[in-house]
């Protein structure tokens, strides 16, 4: 615990990365990381050292972000009744704000080698997933969290994590298979 503040500083980069991927907006991401740091420093006694600090911080970050989304939703609806609000749809609606053309989402250009174009294609496929599935894929496949850690970060049962991941992978797989079919068809059509 003595090194907590130092450890927090070391986790700034992952927190920033996750914040950008949650918010798709640098200003929101900055606010989110600031709030996460404050909350972490003020709640440090609840941190269990046997758990990974990063997953604990991501959990705080995600909770704060959900609260921000709820606040925005409430403000936009002009209502304080949130009892029947569906969180997934809430997240999905707010993620309309995600701009796939924003500069940090584009990482290839027309001259990129084919391997990079394929990676870009995979990236875009993941980004086009339903938000709840996209987050699970990012946490499990990109950040390397276990199902258990992901469940804790997102405050959902582990079965839900697996279910979302399975659906995400089903969607990704179908898209990839469709792309393969298109490519094969194009090769046949363009053949001698």
């Amino acid at each position: 615990m003595k090194q907590f503040a130092k450890a927090l500083s070391n986790e700034l980069e992952p927190m920033w990365r996750f914040a950008l991927r949650l918010t798709a907006n640098e200003a929101d991401a900055e606010d989110l990381v600031q709030q996460t740091c404050v909350k972490a420093l003020e709640s440090v006694q609840s941190y269990q050292e046997q758990g990974r600090l990063r997953s604990w911080l991501f959990r705080i970050e995600h909770r704060i972000w959900l609260n921000v989304l709820r606040s925005r939703q409430i403000r936009s609806e002009g209502s304080f009744n949130k009892s029947n609000r569906n969180l997934d749809s809430l997240i999905a609606q707010n993620c309309v704000a995600v701009d796939p053309s924003s500069n940090y989402r584009l990482f290839v250009d027309d001259h990129s080698p084919e391997s990079q174009l394929r990676l870009h294609q995979i990236f875009l496929q993941v980004e086009s997933l339903v938000e709840a599935q996209r987050l699970v894929v990012i946490l499990v496949c990109v950040e390397g969290f276990t199902y258990h850690e992901t469940a804790q970060i997102l405050d959902i049962p582990i079965g839900t994590v697996m279910s979302r991941l399975a659906r995400a992978r089903f969607s990704l797989g179908k898209a990839m298979l469709a792309e393969q079919d298109e490519r094969q068809t194009a090769e046949v059509d363009g053949g001698p």
């Binding site: 615990m1 700034l12 420093l41 606040s71 990482f107 993941v126």
Partner: protein, 308 residues
């Protein structure tokens, strides 16, 4: 048997035992939809991590990094034993010490500890009032917003401690944004009310916290932090569209009083003073002239509206 997407994922990842795998394969042979789902999930074994590694993300903003690293770089040893008022045995709770960036343990149920905080808040009421009177006198002398006035040597240490405290509080407060306290729960406000009610019982006086509503700030919460082993109480106020305001106070038996001082930290301005062995630090994203008005306004706080 109908298989769920989780069963399919477990099959693809090899998590089913032999019997389950055999049953799954048998079903797959007779169920085209299942076979298609398996094929899709198998096709989804993609270099997703590698794809995201290629993503060009903007770097961590320099200001944000500096704020957090500054907090992390402060390694002054915490001295829980210095917090002698909280040294009773019993269940331990903790608070964050802004000077050392450490968690300092103290007995959560300690009556002494509670009364210490209660006493601090009670003193806050009187202290700000007295401080405001001092301020008014200070203003009459046309010496407001002292930033470097001459002091006897005996006061230098106190002044240095006060300056460190102000800087730490401002550094910490600079991490606050509007949303930090936007969702403060009712229970926290209730906790503050309870704390203030306790003061009322103990002191036999109607207790209120400073009201800055005329400046658009609403009280959000009170919490106990720490500084160099000493209890530090932070009152946070929020206002839509701006960073939260903090009024902090801390006892210091070594320092009787210091005049009102202005300082700037990051984008925040601070007004601070010491009255009757209590340091006060008011930090906000406001011009010093507004802080001055807030300080004067606080002189009437005993009559202000109760916590809402």
């Amino acid at each position: 048997m109908n298989y769920t997407e989780v069963d399919i994922l477990n099959f693809v990842e090899g998590n089913l035992d032999d019997d389950q795998t055999a049953a799954f394969l048998a079903q797959q042979r007779n169920d085209p939809d299942l076979a298609e789902a398996v094929k899709a999930i198998q096709a989804s074994q993609l270099p997703i991590s590698q794809a995201y590694q290629q993503q060009r993300l903007p770097p961590v903003p320099t200001a944000l990094r500096e704020q957090v690293e500054h907090l992390a770089s402060e390694t002054a040893p915490a001295n829980p034993s210095a917090n002698t008022k909280n040294n009773n045995s019993g269940a331990e709770a903790t608070h964050y010490d802004v000077s050392s960036n450490r968690v300092v343990k103290h007995p959560s149920e300690s009556r002494i500890g509670k009364l210490t905080t209660i006493g601090l808040v009670a003193s806050l009421i009187a202290g700000v009032g007295i401080g405001a009177l001092a301020m008014q006198h200070y203003l009459k002398d046309d010496a407001k917003w002292s930033a470097g006035f001459e002091r006897p040597d005996a006061l230098l240490d106190s002044t240095a401690t006060h300056a460190r405290l102000v800087k730490r509080i401002a550094d910490y407060q600079s991490l606050y944004v509007e949303n930090t306290v936007a969702k403060v729960s009712e229970s926290r406000v209730d906790d503050a009310k309870q704390l203030l009610d306790s003061i009322d019982v103990r002191e036999g006086a109607e207790m209120h916290i400073p009201d800055f509503s005329t400046f658009g700030y609403q009280f959000a919460r009170a919490q106990e932090l720490g500084f160099e082993g000493q209890t530090l109480v932070q009152l946070v106020y929020r206002r839509s569209g701006s960073a939260p305001l903090a009024l902090c106070f801390m006892p210091d038996s070594e320092t009787q009083s210091l005049p009102l001082t202005a300082s700037k930290h990051h984008s925040l301005n601070a007004a601070s003073w010491v009255t009757e062995n209590l340091h006060y630090v008011l930090v906000a994203d406001e011009p010093h002239a507004v802080l001055e008005q807030m300080f004067v306004s606080a002189s009437n706080m005993i009559q202000v509206a109760p916590v809402r």
